[in-house]
């Protein structure tokens, strides 16, 4: 949530030389950085949970009936030298810590079915937030100080100040439960009704119907941020010489905006959309909880109870991996569209 403070400030260090093509060099460098980040997360994830208080064996078997043989196997595994444990973990970081304590299945088996609800929720919400946010930002930035801008800026600022889950609760009260004359139009939770085959068009509609409120909640909160950024960059672009010149030359305002200002202003916003994915994922955690959606977010909340350490570790790794990847994509796109950063 780095509002307004974080336009990517890439600081090119001295070129190493040797790479003929700067774009290739840039891409390799960014990919290398992403990989190093992931390795850091891997190490961090491993050691963080090793400092949890309590008997590690108990930690991995909490509340569960485990036969003595498995306990001994687990003990043997957990009492090996830490380096050896780490190697094994590194070989298979997702499942290397054993099965989920709560679901008694391999971590991957628990996570896999929860993947697509979250992807769907976060993906759709991000898409909608981006489109509407960018549009709002362009309009209010270009017409700065007008009524539309004042209303839109103030509304988005208020929305930006809201906790997602609180807004979600309100959406739920108003549109799922119904209040006064507004009927409860949408389901109170879940992703689809039991028995609905989600591979048919009717099933998709059922899912879309269930996702409407949570997607709207997430989208509304995040479009606020995107529109604020877009507005700021449009204002900046508008002040640039070339825009002033173009307008002075009598080019139609619309043309100037569409051909020059918007494409340039879009870049920082699009980068932010990717950089922000980590926060949207975070938002999904509480939203899934409020709307009873069985995705990665509510799995995380489940895993907190106990805690279900193997599951929590895998989820943290997954979230981080996804965000690192999204950031890499953002970096590469940024480099592609704005050659200046490649030097």
């Amino acid at each position: 949530m780095a509002l307004l403070t974080e336009t990517p400030a890439r600081t090119p260090s001295a070129a190493a030389g040797g790479w003929a093509n700067p774009s290739v060099r840039y891409a390799v460098k960014r990919t290398g950085a992403a990989i190093s980040t992931f390795i850091f997360v891997l190490i961090f994830n491993f050691f963080l949970f090793r400092i949890l208080p309590g008997d590690p064996v108990a930690l991995y078997t909490r509340g569960r009936n485990v036969d003595p043989e498995s306990i001994r196997a687990l003990e043997a595994k957990l009492h090996r030298p830490i380096g050896q444990q780490f190697l094994e973990y590194a070989r298979n970081p997702f499942t290397g810590n054993g099965p989920s304590v709560k679901y008694n299945q391999s971590v991957w088996e628990v996570i896999a079915p929860a993947l697509w609800p979250t992807l769907l929720l976060v993906g759709t919400a991000t898409l909608i937030a981006t489109i509407i946010g960018v549009w709002l930002g362009i309009r209010s930035g270009w017409n700065r100080g007008e009524r539309f801008d004042v209303i839109s800026s103030n509304t988005t600022l208020v929305l930006y100040s809201m906790p997602e889950f609180w807004f979600g609760m309100i959406m739920l009260i108003v549109f799922a439960v119904g209040i006064g004359p507004i009927p409860g139009m949408f389901p109170t939770g879940g992703l689809s009704d039991p028995g609905v085959d989600t591979s048919t068009p009717a099933g998709w509609l059922n899912v879309a119907w269930h996702l409407f409120l949570p997607v709207t909640t997430l989208a509304v909160i995040y479009l606020a941020e995107y529109s604020l950024i877009m507005r700021a960059s449009i204002i900046e672009e508008r002040g640039q010489d070339y825009v002033q010149t173009a307008r002075a030359k009598g080019l139609m305002d619309k043309m100037v905006r569409r051909q020059h200002a918007v494409p340039n202003a879009l870049l920082p916003t699009m980068t932010l959309v990717f950089l922000n994915l980590g926060f949207v994922v975070g938002g999904a955690i509480t939203i899934e909880y409020v709307f009873s959606i069985h995705g990665l977010g509510s799995l995380t909340v489940d895993a907190l109870q106990g805690p279900d350490v193997p599951l929590l570790q895998a989820l943290f790794l997954l979230f981080s991996g996804a965000v690192i990847f999204a950031n890499l994509v953002a970096d590469l796109l940024y480099g592609y569209f704005d050659p200046r950063v490649r030097t």
Binding site: L4, L48, I235, G278, V281, G282, Y289
Partner: protein
């Protein structure tokens, strides 16, 4: 430290005359800043809201403990707002108004304390990594990059789980997860300050690294830190609310987030006790909004290019 180096003494002596000038200049700029801030309507609005909440938090020290003790209150649970109970009562019959007032203390405390921690880490890392170009800078820079990318809430959740649930821990969790943005920003600013001629001069005069950072870089990045701080407080408060809502806060402390969690858990919505959830929620929105308004106003003043309407 620097005291062992006689050259520093010399440099200080040489600068003595200039110090008053610098002081005067800074004072003037502060006055200018205050004047511009006064003229910034939304900034003043934010400041007013904030002062009101701070007043509420202070007033909350005078709430007798017995009126928040579940074994001593006598009102019915879930009473709607009335003259006697301006914001209604909670599921144990406590006044929601008093709860929210008491909650302002913890929410603001966590917000400020976590931000201080985050600013301290972020500013130190930012200045040091901008100042030292070699290994130290590179490593710190990498480190910032790593933390910048790790998704915030999952990291906070994992940390809070490992550390356990207490007030201090939640401050630590928010503080150590939210610094990298600041570090990035401060680093960039440090780089540009370091390039300025007078720092070159001070270096030539033999000023040590600590002296350079403390006396020259820090004052120059301070305004930026300030603007960033107000925005960071808003994020800290939101984080506290979210973590408490997920049950990761201190269960014995009353904060806006924990009131929301309790109301939520007690079925306030099914009971139609909207006041129980609306009051703390609105407090969060207003406070966060206040900090955002102030932060934007400061940014506008420091960087007129981005000035809003």
């Amino acid at each position: 430290m620097t005291m062992t180096q006689p050259t520093i003494e010399d440099a200080n002596a040489a600068a003595l005359g200039a110090r008053d000038v610098v002081k005067a200049r800074r004072k003037a700029s502060r006055t200018r800043f205050t004047a511009s801030f006064r003229q910034n309507r939304s900034g003043m609005l934010g400041l007013t809201i904030l002062l009101i909440f701070i007043a509420v938090a202070i007033a909350a020290f005078f709430i007798p403990a017995s009126s928040l003790d579940v074994t001593q209150v006598t009102a019915d649970p879930f009473l709607p707002p009335s003259l006697q109970w301006p914001l209604g009562t909670d599921d144990s019959g406590r006044s929601v108004l008093l709860l929210v007032a008491k909650g302002a203390q913890i929410s603001l405390l966590v917000g400020f304390a976590a931000t201080m921690l985050s600013m301290f880490i972020g500013t130190s890392v930012g200045i040091v990594s901008g100042h030292y170009r070699g290994m130290t800078g590179g490593v710190l820079d990498r480190f910032t990059d790593w933390f910048l990318v790790i998704p915030y809430l999952p990291l906070a959740i994992v940390l809070a789980t490992v550390l356990g649930r207490s007030l201090l821990n939640i401050i630590i969790v928010i503080g150590v997860t939210s610094w990298p943005g600041t570090a990035r920003l401060i680093r960039a600013q440090t780089l540009s300050v370091t390039a300025r001629p007078y720092l070159e001069r001070s270096k030539a005069l033999g000023a040590g690294n600590l002296h350079q950072m403390w006396k020259h870089v820090l004052p120059n990045v301070m305004p930026l830190v300030l603007a960033n701080t107000t925005l960071a407080v808003s994020i800290s408060i939101l984080s506290e609310t979210t973590l408490s809502f997920l049950g990761l806060g201190d269960p014995t402390a009353i904060s806006w987030g924990s009131i929301l969690e309790q109301g939520f858990a007690a079925g306030a919505i099914s009971q139609g006790a909207w006041w129980y959830l609306a009051a703390p929620g609105i407090c969060v929105v207003l406070t966060v909004l206040a900090f955002n308004l102030i932060g934007r106003a400061i940014e506008d003043i420091l960087d007129p290019r981005q000035e809003t309407a």
